[in-house]
């Protein structure tokens, strides 16, 4: 079953055609990787899918609903959550509080209820805390619950950011270069974590430069170059794809 469908999406920035008539599907329950050389338009594609940018043309269908005209907030409430290439944790908030923000779409206390501290919010707050703690236990960061999130080591900040996204209980998790800046050991851990997230029933779409990680965990890979799709296949087939080898290594084959 298709969870996300990108259909003929284009985006132009001035004279630069960042994304050109791009189409691909993400099947529910899969880990799909989006790869391509630097400047291929991967992050732009993420921004288009997650509602950070509106596409010039084409449609993006998520769970049977067209989301290409929605804001990032509306997209998130429908069960698609992203992380950022440059970690965007909330400063001056603890790890626990960061993850609690992730529960926003699953709670409802508004300004008035919050100010009056209405009894229904107590129960809600308790549930938010419990769920956040559960996620921290799953990710092994419960010891850092009370630490300011941005004071953690880089690799741990990544995990917190993923935890915050998981707190939204997304159907689709978009990971923008989850292994960027991680050492080899941390990268392996990240790979295992992503597989575990998929096993929880969360579909994953990731942009990643670490090829060994992509090949190890992905079910399918889309390759883009200059904003256009040049290949879409299983990891093993992608490794043998002549066009992919050409864009990565150049025309002059050894």
């Amino acid at each position: 079953m298709t969870l996300l469908s990108v259909r003929g999406v284009s985006k132009r920035f001035g004279g630069l055609q960042a994304v050109n008539d791009l189409s691909f599907d993400v099947a529910a329950g899969a880990i799909k990787a989006l790869i391509g050389p630097n400047g291929a338009g991967k992050t732009t594609i993420f921004n288009l899918i997650s509602g950070f940018l509106p596409p010039d043309s084409g449609e993006i269908v998520f769970g049977g609903e067209g989301i290409h005209a929605m804001s990032s907030c509306e997209v998130a409430t429908r069960g698609m959550v992203r992380t950022f290439q440059h970690i965007r944790l909330f400063p001056k908030m603890t790890v626990l509080e960061n993850i609690m923000v992730g529960r926003h779409v699953h709670s409802r206390a508004g300004f008035l209820a919050g100010m009056l501290n209405l009894p229904f919010t107590w129960k809600e707050e308790r549930r938010i805390r419990e769920k956040s703690r559960e996620i921290m236990e799953l990710l092994g960061i419960v010891d850092h619950a009370g630490t300011e999130a941005i004071s953690l080591a880089y690799g741990q900040q990544r995990v917190v950011e993923i935890g915050r996204a998981l707190a939204c209980e997304p159907k689709l998790l978009l990971l923008d270069e989850p292994a960027a800046g991680l050492n080899m050991r941390e990268t392996n851990g990240m790979g295992e974590l992503i597989s575990r997230i998929r096993d929880l029933g969360v579909t994953v779409l990731l942009v990643e430069h670490d090829m060994s990680l992509v090949m190890k965990i992905s079910d399918e890979v889309v390759v883009v170059s200059y904003g256009e799709k040049i290949a879409e296949d299983r990891p093993l087939a992608i490794q043998k794809n002549r066009e992919v080898i050409r864009v990565y290594l150049g025309d002059d084959e050894c």
Binding site: F52, C73, A76, R82, F90, K92, G110, A113
Partner: protein, 357 residues
């Protein structure tokens, strides 16, 4: 839960102690300035919520204060006796108008203070919604400039409108009646009750804001402050939340304007002035930005000193200087939230090891 309200109770104790203090030294006239301080503090804590927690700025809060004050002043002094329109008679029959004597012994028929207060708050909310929508799309300096513009517009309007008293403002505003025979007015006989009413209102406002900060909405606002794009990606409707907190803080300013106008018996255009807005921002800044208690205590001290005339003709200079010094040397404010833990960390040798389990 108890931890949240303990400081509130302690503050209430301080308010009682100050009153008893003035009583014991026979200086009860200080309560007048302390009561006015309370209403200004209401503006400050509302602004602190906007600046410190939601990360937005307003250099136009004196404008919202003035909207509240001027609407209630105008409606409660505007004589409707000679006006025999259908609306007036309908209002009169529904009890929305009151008849009272003016200082010359004549008879006045004016809007009831409660209705005037409601109208004042409604207008404050409407203006805040109307200007907040487009203005809050701006960030940083641009937002500061735009809100400064709002403040200046309100100031020029009240200064240039004849029926608002132009440069004289509006005087002879009646007291604001409350249940139980209480009256918000500057009458010396009700000095003590007014002192407690005003600070009671501040304490109530503080309790509401402290609750809000601890709630889901408070976390969301803090997230918007820290990383707006990431907050949006978590499903937080960032523009709506910014607008709501802007309106909320405008309502605090508007309410303060209403009650202080009834207390003072009038309002003048200086209340809408830019320097008043700067003063509120300076107090929030020195109070530690994201620190309601810091802002409140600084407001208590500085407004009181200012109202007692300790700064003399340098009144505005003091607040301008405070703003400059804070921005230069302590951009997180003097009484910032983590001041105590920061100091502890500076004192202890191995801060990191301490945190380890």
């Amino acid at each position: 839960m108890a931890r949240r309200y303990l400081p509130v109770a302690a503050f209430a104790g301080l308010i009682v102690a100050i009153q008893l203090g003035t009583l014991s030294i026979g200086a009860e006239y200080h309560l007048t300035q302390l009561t006015m301080t309370a209403y200004y503090s209401l503006v400050v804590v509302g602004l602190c919520m906007l600046i410190g927690y939601a990360g937005q700025i307003s250099l136009g809060h004196a404008g919202f204060f003035a909207i509240g004050g001027y609407v209630t002043a105008f409606l409660t002094t505007w004589d409707l006796k000679t006006n025999h329109g259908a609306v007036v008679s309908l209002l009169e029959r529904s009890g929305a108008l009151v008849s009272r004597h003016d200082v010359y012994g004549g008879n006045l028929l004016t809007v009831h203070p409660w209705l005037a207060c409601a109208a004042a708050i409604l207008l404050t909310v409407a203006v805040a919604f109307l200007v907040g929508g487009p203005v809050l799309k701006l960030k940083g300096h641009y937002l500061a400039m735009a809100t400064l513009g709002i403040g200046i517009i309100v100031y020029r309007i009240v200064l240039g409108t004849d029926f608002l008293g132009a440069s004289d403002g509006i005087s002879e505003v009646p007291g604001f009646p409350l249940p139980g025979g209480l009256l918000i007015s500057g009458d010396a006989s009700s000095r003590i009750s007014n002192y407690y009413l005003a600070w009671g209102l501040v304490i109530l406002g503080m309790a509401l804001l402290l609750n809000l900060i601890q709630s889901r909405v408070g976390r969301a606002l803090s997230a918007v402050h820290g990383a707006e794009d990431a907050a949006g990606a978590m499903g937080i409707p960032t523009s709506r939340y910014k607008l709501n907190v802007f309106v909320l803080s405008a309502v605090f300013a508007g309410l303060a304007g209403v009650f202080l106008t009834h207390y003072n018996g009038g309002i003048g255009p200086s209340e809408a002035g830019v320097m008043k807005s700067v003063r509120y921002v300076a107090i929030v800044a020195i109070g530690g930005m994201a620190n309601l208690w810091g802002s409140l205590s600084m407001s208590l001290v500085l407004n009181y000193l200012s109202l007692r005339g300790y700064f003399g003709t340098y009144d505005d200079t003091v607040f301008g200087a405070i703003l400059i010094l804070i921005m230069l040397f302590a951009p997180d404010g003097l009484l910032r939230r983590h001041l105590v833990s920061d100091l502890k960390r500076m004192v202890s040798r191995n801060p990191v090891e301490e945190d380890a389990p």
